[in-house]
């Protein structure tokens, strides 16, 4: 049983991608930081465990679990039924509000306004899936997929992309990087639940994590972490009682 092993070793191996701000990134002194990092650290502290970071990229988050190179993945995993066939998800510990952001100078109010435009996304994310489906169903826009958020943001900053689909936090960042191209959220896509990923067939570990998540949502700690990095509170239905 994985949970027993973890508790016996007093060490938990947590996989996270440190190149997807603001969830996982490096601070100015090159220490891991971000909302997922803080969540993981809080989790380890509460369980009295030491963390062993497993560096992953987007593509290797799941194989790391499957091949037992990490115990838990905390790296902006959004829950979809397709994915749930491959790994087990905990209850959501956060949510990601995805929006289509665009240049302030371009007037767009709703999906119709996006007709004929090209929207940049980070490849394979749930935003990508949502937009791709919408485009297929006559959405009237193009989707340009970048390998990660950073490249997508760079495309927006340098002028390759006028619209991006990502979290509202990131949309607001672009204007900071390049004042000549301020972006603002235009259309809400949806809100995705973010959960921790665990290898299939470890009910005890999942139960333990669910219990911790419930506690920390209730006591508001998870909301605090979220607010610190994303600038907004968690959605109402997830917010704790504090």
């Amino acid at each position: 049983d994985l949970l027993d092993n973890i508790m016996a070793a007093k060490k938990i191996r947590i996989a996270t991608d440190l190149a997807i701000p603001p969830s996982g990134m490096m601070d100015a002194s090159m220490k891991p930081t971000g909302s997922d990092v803080d969540t993981a650290e809080l989790l380890a502290k509460d369980l009295g465990l030491e963390i062993e970071w497993v560096q992953t990229t987007g593509a290797t988050r799941i194989p790391n679990l499957q091949t037992n190179k990490a115990d838990v993945v905390i790296s902006t995993l959004s829950v979809t039924p397709e994915r749930a066939k491959v790994i087990d998800f905990t209850d959501p510990y956060a949510a990601l509000e995805s929006v289509v952001g665009g240049l302030k100078s371009i007037e767009v109010k709703d999906w119709d306004g996006l007709k004929g435009k090209t929207i940049a996304v980070s490849r394979g994310t749930t935003q990508d899936t949502a937009l791709t489906n919408r485009a297929k169903d006559g959405g009237g826009f193009e989707v340009a997929r970048y390998d990660d958020d950073a490249t997508m943001v760079t495309a927006a900053v340098t002028g390759q992309a006028d619209f991006i689909a990502t979290s509202g936090t990131i949309v607001n960042q672009i204007g900071v990087k390049n004042p000549a191209r301020p972006f603002e959220p235009k259309v809400l896509i949806t809100t995705f639940n973010l959960a921790m990923g665990v290898k299939k067939g470890e009910p005890h570990l999942v139960a333990k994590l669910n219990e911790w998540i419930a506690t920390n949502i209730a006591n508001g700690k998870l909301n605090a972490i979220y607010k610190k990095y994303h600038g907004t509170d968690l959605p109402e239905n997830m917010r704790g009682a504090s």
Binding site: M25, A59, A150
Partner: protein, 220 residues
């Protein structure tokens, strides 16, 4: 997010560059050793061994290194060998480099004139003695320039080790860029670092090639 580029970022990059150098060295040693066997296999007297070595080369040379990296790290783990990222990166670089170096070296072994083989045979040397005492010492001379040249490719290819969680030069640049969003500065720095690692080797390879060329008429 991040802020401005500071000394910590540069140290982080330097650390990444060290890993790039280290991985290259591992790749060269591992790939060199295994590649040597591949080269011997390619010129083996046994048809089966030749075929095996040739298929190996064909297979690996047709597969992107990224895929090899992925499959050897997670693939090996999936069948029960849980290896560290270092071992996995080393193993896949070895597999990849061996296919290329093996092929380069086979060419060099075959470039030793047939008459040298026959002269050694006529002196009753065994196959092993012929290889070790007559053919390889000559092949090594021919092989040095292209081998040094190929090392440049190795250095650049280590960047793909990021897929197994390795934070080498390119990946550390990406991590920094993803918190700073300064692609120009950061990728330019990376380009300069790669260039300063690779260029001396390119030059060396070119020089060795030239001296080898100048030596040729004297040998003929």
């Amino acid at each position: 997010m991040g802020g401005d580029l500071n000394i910590n970022h540069l140290l982080f990059l330097a650390h990444g560059a060290l890993w790039t150098v280290g991985l290259s060295a591992i790749a060269l040693v591992g790939g060199g050793t295994f590649g040597f066997l591949v080269a011997l296999g390619r010129v083996s007297s046994s048809r089966a061994v030749r075929l095996l070595a040739a298929s190996y080369v064909q297979l690996i040379q047709g597969t992107p290194l990224l895929v090899i990296m992925f499959l050897s790290f997670f693939g090996l783990a999936a069948i029960g060998f849980n290896i560290s990222p270092l071992l996995a990166a080393g193993a896949s670089m070895t597999i990849f480099v061996a296919a290329y170096l093996g092929e380069i070296w086979r060419g060099c072994i075959e470039a030793v004139p047939k008459q040298q083989w026959e002269a050694a045979e006529g002196l009753a040397l065994s196959r092993g003695q012929r290889m070790i005492k007559v053919i390889l010492p000559q092949a090594i001379r021919i092989a040095t320039p292209p081998t040094v040249g190929f090392m440049v490719q190795i250095i650049k290819n280590t960047s793909l080790a990021s897929v197994v969680g390795f934070v080498e030069l390119t990946r550390s640049g990406q991590i920094i860029n993803n918190s700073l969003f300064e692609p120009f500065i950061i990728y330019s720095i990376i380009a300069v670092v790669y260039f300063s690692l690779c260029y001396p080797l390119s030059r060396l390879s070119r020089r060795l090639e030239r001296t080898a060329l100048q030596k040729k008429p004297a040998l003929a």
